[in-house]
């Protein structure tokens, strides 16, 4: 599973393709950033430089746009991206306490990632599942109607899942 650098080259080629696809479209920068972030998981400076060159706009402009929008991230995200909805409906139903609990368990704040790269935490705006408030999402999974007491169990589930996968890997290697 060790990285040989080939994926970096492949990604670069992908990025060039994305830039090529949008190059002649007006207002291309934001769609390109969206796809680039999907590719890399975040938008490091090297990627921004490449985009600036490709679209022929100043790097400062690219950086300005990246930092303006909350969806774009300068830091890598965890393997499991936890978003706590802090929309009004979730907030009046105690989402703030749920956020605090997760932050306490993982010892990270919004926008940060755990040192092992497993979890990152974000406070997000309404995801529109107000019927299930309070809601958190972990990658694509939605966990709704939560209480603070549910939180440790949910996080543990992902830790267990990861451990299982690792054990499985070891087993295969053996």
């Amino acid at each position: 599973m060790s990285c040989t650098g080939c994926c970096a080259d492949n990604k670069l080629k992908e990025l060039e393709k994305i830039i090529e696809k949008y190059k002649d479209i007006r207002g291309a920068l934001i769609p390109v950033l969206h796809e680039a972030q999907e590719l890399y998981g975040y938008l490091p400076l090297s990627v921004q430089k490449k985009i600036a060159e490709g679209l022929n706009i100043p790097l400062s402009e690219v950086y300005g746009v990246v930092t303006f929008y909350t969806q774009f991230s300068l830091n890598p995200k965890g393997k499991y991206k936890i978003s706590v909805c802090l929309g009004t409906a979730c907030y009046v139903k105690g989402a703030g306490e749920i956020y605090d609990k997760i932050s306490e368990i993982l010892n990270i704040k919004s926008g940060e990632c755990t040192p092992d790269g497993l979890f990152s935490l974000d406070a997000c705006r309404c995801i529109g599942a107000c019927g299930l408030a309070p809601v958190i999402t972990i990658n694509e999974d939605v966990h709704g109607r939560l209480t603070v007491d549910d939180v440790p169990g949910i996080i543990q589930k992902y830790i267990d899942k990861e451990k299982e996968a690792k054990d499985q890997e070891k087993l295969v290697e053996a």
Binding site: Y69, Q71, T88, A89, V92, C126, I127, C130, G131, V135
Partner: protein, 596 residues
């Protein structure tokens, strides 16, 4: 192929989150196992509205509505209902013993008082199949407009209907179209604001997920009316299902010749592109939205010039929101007179609200303008859970305000809500009960605004921050005499000085809570008390002597040794030492500790 049964499964975000796709997979598997996969058709639809009771599915021809369905229930539904034709009564929504099952939900207040115009197709058709939309008179209004009406006639009809913008401010739609139409230019644009940013509002998302073609059709009609051949839908990236269905819908409309060149064999051509937002609330403001489509930081521009004169890429641009567009095709088909017969004198038609917070039936409702708040909260919403008292309804999101219990009988329309210091907004309605602290809620909205302020103009960038600092102080028990007056002065300056609508209205949550709940602010500032028991810094943990058994557990758990006493006698908390961590309350086995 003709099917004997149709199963409609809600695939709105709410129900998808409560695992409706798993239900569909399970049902498909069981249909095959029973050999009836060619007799029963499973259709995924948009939102039925009652997200609280999701996942919801409806089986026709009986019209049985099943709610709170779990994967384990599917076997029973297939074996009983679909194989043997017996209704699974325990899962029916509403009256489980109704003679006519299709009417079981009729007496459920949630549905009885609604009138669905903008949501007409949500939960009825498969949003990913253009033919189902066409079968429900889809694209008929576009056909009528481009083949039978002149652009001026289209605008006249919309103007006559009295439709006002559903995005929040309520500007007359016909006039907006007229302004864009009268500009002379080689290029004009039609934009759709689907950047639904109000926390707690999901009307537009539900329309896009449940009936994307209605928006596409309306945008094409608008293009014809103002003379534009290019449209953009600016949609939040946080709505992946809506984005996917819009992409499918645009593709299908092109394939059917309903978008593209020479629509209905006329000279009219219209193309549509999707642009994804990237999580900036300010992009819901029209000039900021256009700046963002252009690929820049989404900062608002000064108006005038208005977008109708100088909008996207400096060209005349028409911009309406999703719900506004969803009304357009029906108005052209049924006529302006029909539409204006619904609603109040100055607010015609219906409004979709996303009801959430401390209420039984969270979900999506569409009500005629003029329905009272009381009907919405109690008849449709089913009242407040846990026997609590209604305290306020918040409308208009971060730009709006709170409506207290005294105004429960107010008929909801644009002007009435403005008059009492709130606003219609895009349609989020959060219900709060007696356990909600109004200072805390005002602080919540200000935190939102401070976070989302784009920073272009100082009144918003600096002013809201100062207001938040004061609120923070007040909720920390450090409020000073004169703080409330400072808040009011700042609010007025921001309202007068901010560049865009969002900045100007940012102080509203504070102003409206001050108007109706000033005593709560005063209790925080003067008495250092939070009447609702929310602001932790103002609460004291107290041991109730009668209930305390003197087990000493809390004293041992207390991290700062603030609790003392003799075993088997009531313990006492030293308030000066207490850091209000709450460990004692959590550890007490006799519920003898309370916050007050």
């Amino acid at each position: 192929m003709i099917y004997r049964s149709h199963v409609l499964v809600c695939n709105g975000t709410g129900c998808v989150s409560s695992k409706s796709p798993d239900l569909m997979a399970k049902m498909e598997e069981l249909l095959v196992a029973n050999g009836i996969e060619n007799e029963v058709k499973i259709i995924k639809t948009g939102c039925f509205g009652l997200c609280e009771k999701g996942p919801i599915l409806v089986i026709y021809p009986e019209g049985a509505t099943y709610c709170n369905v779990s994967v384990d229930d599917i076997e029973e539904i297939v074996n009983e209902h679909l194989v043997k034709g017996r209704i699974v009564k325990r899962l029916l929504l509403g009256d489980k013993e109704a003679e006519d099952v299709s009417k079981s939900r009729d007496n459920v207040g949630f549905f009885a008082k609604q009138k669905r115009i903008a949501l007409r197709n949500c939960g009825v058709i498969n949003p990913e199949n253009i033919e189902e939309y066409i079968a429900h008179d889809g694209y008929l209004a576009l056909a009528k407009a481009v083949t039978e009406m002149t652009p001026a006639e289209v605008i006249a009809e919309i103007t006559k209907s009295g439709l006002r913008g559903r995005g929040g401010a309520g500007f007359p739609v016909g006039r907006k179209w007229q302004f864009a139409a009268q500009e002379v230019s080689d290029q004009k644009y039609v934009c759709c604001n689907a950047d639904e940013g109000d926390p707690g509002a999901f009307m537009d998302r539900s329309i896009l997920e449940g009936d994307p073609h209605s928006v596409i059709e309306a945008m094409a009609i608008a293009g014809y009316a103002i003379g534009a051949n290019q449209g953009y839908i600016y949609v939040r990236a946080e709505y992946p299902i809506a984005v996917e269905r819009l992409n499918i819908a645009i593709k299908q409309a092109h394939e059917y010749g309903l978008l593209g060149k020479n629509i209905f064999n006329t000279d009219f051509s219209f193309n549509l592109e999707l642009r994804l937002g990237a999580g900036a609330f300010v992009c819901g403001e029209e000039t900021a939205l256009m700046t963002s489509i252009e690929g820049n930081r989404g900062e608002p521009r000064t108006r005038p010039p208005f977008p109708a004169v100088k909008g996207l890429w400096g060209k005349p641009t028409l911009l309406n929101n999703v719900e506004t567009y969803a009304n357009i095709p029906v108005i052209l088909l049924k006529g302006a007179d029909w539409f204006s017969s619904i609603g109040t004198e100055k607010s015609k038609g219906t409004k979709v609200f996303a009801i959430g917070g401390k209420i039984h039936n969270t979900g999506l409702v569409e009500i005629p303008m003029g329905t009272t708040l009381r009907e919405v909260v109690y008849d449709i919403g089913g009242g407040i859970p846990n026997g609590k008292k209604f305290k306020a309804a918040q409308t208009g999101g971060p730009s709006g305000g709170c409506i207290p219990a005294d105004h429960l009988d107010i008929p909801i329309d644009y002007d009435n809500l403005l008059e009492i210091g709130s606003m219609m907004g895009s349609g989020g309605m959060i219900i709060m009960d007696e356990d909600t602290c109004m200072v805390d809620i005002a602080k919540f909205f200000l935190e939102f605004t401070v976070d989302e302020s784009c920073g272009k103009c100082p009144p918003c960038r600096i002013g809201t921050k100062r207001m938040l600092e004061i609120l923070d102080r007040i909720t920390q028990g450090k409020g000073e005499e004169g703080d409330i007056e400072k808040l009011e002065a700042l609010a007025e300056s921001i309202n007068k000085g901010a560049l865009c609508g969002l900045g100007q209205t940012a102080p509203n949550p504070v102003l409206s809570t001050l108007k109706f709940f000033r005593d709560e602010y005063e209790a925080h500032v003067k008495d250092k008390k939070c009447p609702a028991g929310v602001c932790t810094a103002l609460l004291n943990y107290v041991i109730i002597a009668d209930k305390c058994k003197g087990c000493s557990l809390c004293a041992r758990k207390c991290p700062v040794n603030a609790i003392s006493g003799e075993v088997k006698k009531p313990y006492v908390i030293d308030q000066d030492k207490c850091i209000k961590c709450g460990v004692c309350m959590e550890s007490c086995k006799f519920a003898a500790i309370e916050k007050k």
